[in-house]
Symmetry: C2
Subunit: 484 residues, 2 copies
Amino acid sequence: MIYLDRDAPVSLVEQMVSQMAGLIQNGQLPPGSRLPSIRKLASQAEVSTATVVSAYDRLTARGLIESKAASGYFVSSRRLQEQRPALPIPQRSELDAVWLMQKLLQRHENITAVGSGFMPEHWLEDMLSSRFLAQFARKEKRSYAAPGAAEGYPPLRSQLSLKLGRAGIPAAPEQILLTFGATQALDLISRALLSPGDTVAVEEPAYFGLHAQLRAQGIKLVGVPRLENGPDLKVLEEVCTAWRPRLFFTQTLLHNPTGGSTDAGTAFRLLELARRHNLLIVEDDVFGDLHPSPNPLRLAQADQLERVILVGSFSKVLSPAIRVGFIAAAPELLQLFTEHKILSVLTASELDERLVCDLLSSGHFHKHLERLRARLSHNRAQVVQGLTRAGLDPVQRFNGDLFVWARLPEGIDMRALVEDAQENGFLLTPGDVFFLRHAPEPWLRFNAAAANDGRLFDYLARCLEKLAVNPGISATQPVSRDLA
Amino acid sequence: MIYLDRDAPVSLVEQMVSQMAGLIQNGQLPPGSRLPSIRKLASQAEVSTATVVSAYDRLTARGLIESKAASGYFVSSRRLQEQRPALPIPQRSELDAVWLMQKLLQRHENITAVGSGFMPEHWLEDMLSSRFLAQFARKEKRSYAAPGAAEGYPPLRSQLSLKLGRAGIPAAPEQILLTFGATQALDLISRALLSPGDTVAVEEPAYFGLHAQLRAQGIKLVGVPRLENGPDLKVLEEVCTAWRPRLFFTQTLLHNPTGGSTDAGTAFRLLELARRHNLLIVEDDVFGDLHPSPNPLRLAQADQLERVILVGSFSKVLSPAIRVGFIAAAPELLQLFTEHKILSVLTASELDERLVCDLLSSGHFHKHLERLRARLSHNRAQVVQGLTRAGLDPVQRFNGDLFVWARLPEGIDMRALVEDAQENGFLLTPGDVFFLRHAPEPWLRFNAAAANDGRLFDYLARCLEKLAVNPGISATQPVSRDLA
């Protein structure tokens, strides 16, 4: 009874919910009818059981169906349905990536997120430990009872100004706004500079959270392929001429998910192109601290913060639970971002910012980064080796990257692989979410710090062999929507 | 040479900047020309010196003018002007309230913000002290290196569920989303439920930050007068019929800025009206913890979280520097808000949430609230008395309120008063910002905890006498835009 359109702009879950709600409301599924079991509906509709679970959860929340312990799901009585008239809630759209992010943030028992975007907890826990917190509390006697400045804790802005200065980026403390992580930084930039219907250029593949964030604001995205040495400038030039985007979002150093950094030649030609088209550039530098060179080139250095807006964060290298990121930009831009920060969160969480400031000024942060880089480089080499042995084709690149971007052999069904891996304790991150059209992609992203596990490589080798012999349905559908 | 339109939708600063930029760019003010001094231009244009300082700062940031130490401001050389071509930055609009908020968050030497929105630091510093932090660190050994759940720290959501349950509000932990303060809670609600061009109803007067936030998203605001017993339902009914607003924002308990709470009769009629018009209600409950009754009625209790979305925060009663607030709502609404939280900040700051959770579960929070209420009630009575003695007319109301809303005697020029007070060490909060049209208003908001100061009352008495005898220019202009 359910017809799913896999090319539709709304998710499979949404389609299932709206069709079943329709059947219930027009009486085709009368009160008290028994619904198919999760497994049965999943198999009929050719979706994962997780999709059906999600759809049933939402129908339950709307009061349309109810579950009876051990006997399954039933259409609610009319009275129960009427107790909850439909509220004026807008339709969800383009939020599959958000759903994946929410999933990745939940703590899983017995499952390893080998494609996670974060460093593993045990790589970071020495820094923001309870011991450090106790030492900090003994040292810093000031209370936390006065509002923090909207721009962020002034001594941390000064520390960041020094740190950026050492990287050749001339940012006065007044040109630095502290944010709740890089995610808020990117959000404030697009809220301050863009209106619904505006067009921006983004790299492809690239971090799916950025794409989802922009789409939720009604921004049109045009993709620019990410090549080995940086964005494809030929395509960017065409995009600028045809679409006049207001911003271009790029990751110069240690690109997520493909790895590698933009080289100097590409960087300077990119800036020249931006000047010609009066394009602002948002440089997402959340991985730059992991770069092994003492002074890697950032666009913000080459441009001196004229039309480049630099975004940084401590979530990757200190802790994802301490939300401290920043924007460095020209003063008139920074004032706009500050105003939008006040509108959206009023002010900063000063305790977190004071902890980060202490780590930076004490030199602990610097030593921590050195250890982190050495450890990452060692692990990454092993992950590249292990995945190759298992039959995947990792893009090698540079060994500072947190991620390994690896291609599956031809003929392997990604959906079957992801579902099988999950049952075996590995949460994979399939590549389709990093592209603007969630078309099937033969790529997986691995986290070099989390995926260095012999059991993973052995499992992948076995599973790829099994799926190559017995390919099942062909790899025609993107899988991230159904990932559970 | 500068013509300012005080009824224009852009601020005086913006008008000054754009006109001067025009004069410079078309050559009427050639490179090297000396500009009038701040004091002189302020007097010519009949604005405060702060307005001119702001305008000159922005022109300096754009490279159009430069200051030379001790000799004043000059139009920059053509070369300097050309080094910074105009970037594609949108015009600011409706951000005067934001500017005021930014100002109120800065730490001032030698000036007391007697209309501040926060509790004074010394009323709160016992709670989130460095001693408490040290104790907490010794007790809680877990690190802060793993990402927090997007929905917020689960044990704090459980604590809040219990706390709301005691207030008669049936919110399961899954119906509670933690946010970076109430400001983010309100922002997520409007981002999830509204689109640019939508209309919402708000109380008037009411918290200016909410009005500014909604306007920045392109939402149309329709005002509903706030009466002594709650919002004016006759007007709200008309507004619903004429404008079909999607949401109504209201503060049931201890209204900011007028004080007082919505009574039970008004609350039930409001919910009935909301049902008839299929209106969702956002109940901003940031002051509810200060209410002296053991169980004051909230809309969320009467409605059982069907169409009421409850917003709470610990910023008022624990610390504005620890950004922990929450939304409690129906499950399908909460899922939408969670998705928008992930899009805008990804996840929570777990340390802050764990600290608040510890205070709640240990019972310290409860005792702190009792002390706070007693102290507030005592201080509020004295502030009401002191302001009355000084010649103002405070709206008395209920003694749980943090704010005292007081009317100036007729014929007093608000602008002259605010500027004079500032020179005497008191930062006042004039009432015009709390209204949708920033027309002149004879009201001031005082913070009952911060304004209990004999010197303030003596000063006000002297100043009102002086201004009554010598009224200067008449009170025809709102002043908040020019407040420095």
